[in-house]
């Protein structure tokens, strides 16, 4: 079954005595913008780490297009079309925006390791083609003027955009964003929302964590709410907002986020 569907079944991830993700199941359907929300420390990032191969869950299964991906390495999972960004931005800080985006072309490039020693006509052509793809991303994300700028000298909002551009350079089927609006001002957040819609239009499924409730309620098609690693609710934004368990979890937690 080659349907672009991500299915988590009874995923459990423990850190010593702490159960960060507890028997969690949900399904992301093809073409959705799917949200995962929950209070601080609820286990959202840990779920994403279990999907993207950074952690291996102790129990449960993670299926992508009908294939079990639990236990695969991050690069194997990227190879299957799932790419992510990080809550704390992880760019190659001393390298330029263009080089950062070029890293996303790594698995698409047809070069072998030995082309790094002796280039061929084919590898030069491949090199050129991939830089052209980088140019496409630079234009799509309106980053052209920063192409040669090292990313660690860019403002936060732009760094977030570069990170998404880098992920999109892989041409993923499923894009996973961990708090993409964190640290952005209102104008930048609006720009991000637009970008996410444009990404979906390209046929990419989007799975995201977000604390900005206005944004989540606006853009997601479907939501899962977790607290203490457990799912406490799921549904459309309207359904979730009306759910007493969700209201309780958010009001009950003292570290309520600023929206």
């Amino acid at each position: 079954m080659a349907h672009n569907e991500l299915i988590l079944n009874n995923v459990t991830k423990r850190f010593g005595g702490l159960t960060a993700v507890d028997d969690l199941s949900f399904t992301v359907a093809d073409g959705q913008i799917y949200g995962v929300i929950g209070p601080n420390g609820a286990g959202k990032t840990t779920v994403f780490n279990c999907i993207t191969g950074i952690y291996k869950s102790e129990e449960g299964s993670v299926q992508w297009r009908g294939e079990e991906i639990r236990g695969m390495t991050p690069y194997q999972i990227v190879d299957r079309g799932i790419v992510r960004t990080f809550q704390t931005i992880r760019l190659f800080g001393q390298m330029s925006v263009a080089e950062n985006i070029m890293s996303g072309r790594h698995i698409k490039s047809s070069q072998s390791w030995w082309h790094g020693i002796v280039p061929t006509l084919g590898s030069r052509r491949d090199e050129k083609e991939n830089w052209l793809k980088v140019q496409e991303q630079l234009e799509f994300f309106d980053l052209g003027e920063f192409a040669a700028t090292p990313t660690n000298s860019l403002p936060y909002g732009l760094q977030r955009r570069v990170e998404i551009a880098r992920a999109m350079a892989v041409e993923p089927t499923l894009l996973i964003l961990d708090e993409p609006a964190a640290g952005l001002n209102d104008k930048e957040t609006l720009g991000l929302v637009e970008t996410i819609y444009k990404i979906r239009e390209k046929g990419v499924t989007v799975l995201l964590i977000e604390h900005d409730m206005d944004m989540v309620m606006e853009i997601t098609d479907y939501l899962t709410v977790i607290n203490f690693g457990k799912k406490i609710a799921e549904g459309t934004p309207v359904e979730v907002q009306a759910n007493p368990a969700v209201i309780e979890a958010y009001l009950g937690s003292e570290d309520d986020d600023d929206e």
């Binding site: 390495t73 991050p74 690069y75 790419v83 390298m95 140019q135």
Partner: protein, 318 residues
């Protein structure tokens, strides 16, 4: 700066090409030493500078190449140039086999393991393993270079041999910068997790860096054996690895930085003979100062070039 980059290489090339004709034999020998050690330092730069792996055993691969040439020439009568393929491939293969189980280690552990390998290597040479390494005295009386039966006994021939090897190394490094593999090394050095998460099999590229660095060092070993017509264990001690390690760090993992480091470390002591005993002292202080004042090296690396068509002239552009 831009002009510097454009003209530096042609000027360097011309100067180095005519230099030996202006020098007396003693200074020719110094210049050859510079070329050989520059190649080894650049090979270390691939492993330490580009891929960020704390390899403290580069003298091992250098020595391996030198000994392979010496053994094949003195015991089996191979012409020096005919030993090159094995002097490159065997160290490269050895680098790969050695790196495979250790590249996942954290920097400090990797450092200790590679020091260990270097020490074992020198012990093996000194104990005349298999009766071919010649023990503490090493192997001497190697043949001079010969090319299709013509003997090239002059030191000038060795100089140009070393020069060609350096040019070849610079060419490979230039190719690396403009390739998927070369960039992968930069990415994994900058952020290992981000590199994996964008689809890079970091393990493979780390091993690749070790193999390539070891192969180039092995080739430098052939030139070394040719220059001295001899090899002996103390030239490949662990302390020599420390020098290569420091040159890359202090120089800053750029080609000018590494060449500068080699010059200060191996050529200055020859120019100022009285400086020779002081070099570790001076270099030690230089290392301390450089790391405090310029933590990224005296001449820091600039990353892989991006194509011109991507660079837009705006006030934001770099």
């Amino acid at each position: 700066m831009k002009n510097f980059e454009r003209y530096a290489f042609p000027i360097f090339f011309v100067v180095m090409a005519i230099l030996p004709t202006l020098l007396d034999p003693r200074w020719q020998a110094v210049a050859i030493t510079f070329l050989i050690f520059a190649v080894v330092a650049l090979s270390q730069d691939i492993i330490l500078g580009k891929a960020g792996m704390f390899n403290m055993g580069q003298a091992l691969f250098f020595g391996m190449g030198a000994y392979i040439t010496a053994i094949l020439n003195s015991h089996y009568g191979w012409p020096i140039l005919a030993t090159i393929p094995l002097a490159v491939l065997l160290p490269a293969l050895f680098g790969i086999v050695l790196a495979a189980p250790i590249v996942h280690l954290r920097g400090d552990y990797l450092l200790v393991v590679t020091i260990g390998f270097n020490i074992v290597f020198v012990q093996v040479l000194q104990n005349n393993l298999g009766g071919v390494t010649g023990g503490p005295n090493g192997i001497f009386g190697l043949d001079p270079l010969s090319f299709f039966g013509t003997q090239l006994t002059s030191q000038l021939a060795v100089y140009y041999f070393a020069f060609i090897v350096l040019l070849l190394t610079l060419w490979v490094m230039n190719n690396l910068e403009k390739s998927k593999a070369g960039r992968a090394l930069h990415y994994l050095r900058e952020d290992h997790l981000a590199a994996e998460s964008i689809g890079i099999n970091t393990r493979v590229y780390k091993i690749f860096a070790f193999g390539l660095g070891a192969g180039i060092a092995g080739l430098a070993g052939t030139v070394f054996a040719t220059q001295y017509a001899a090899v002996s264990p103390e030239a490949f001690e662990f302390i020599v690895s420390v020098l290569f390690f420091s040159i890359v760090l202090v120089g800053g993992s750029s080609i000018p930085g590494v060449l500068l480091g080699v010059f200060v470390m191996f050529v200055l002591p020859e120019i100022f003979r009285e400086f020779a005993t002081w070099r570790y002292f001076v270099f030690g202080f230089a290392m301390i100062l450089a790391m405090i004042l310029r933590p990224r090296g005296i001449w820091p690396a600039t990353f892989g070039k991006i194509p011109k068509f991507l660079i837009k002239e705006t006030r934001h552009g770099a």
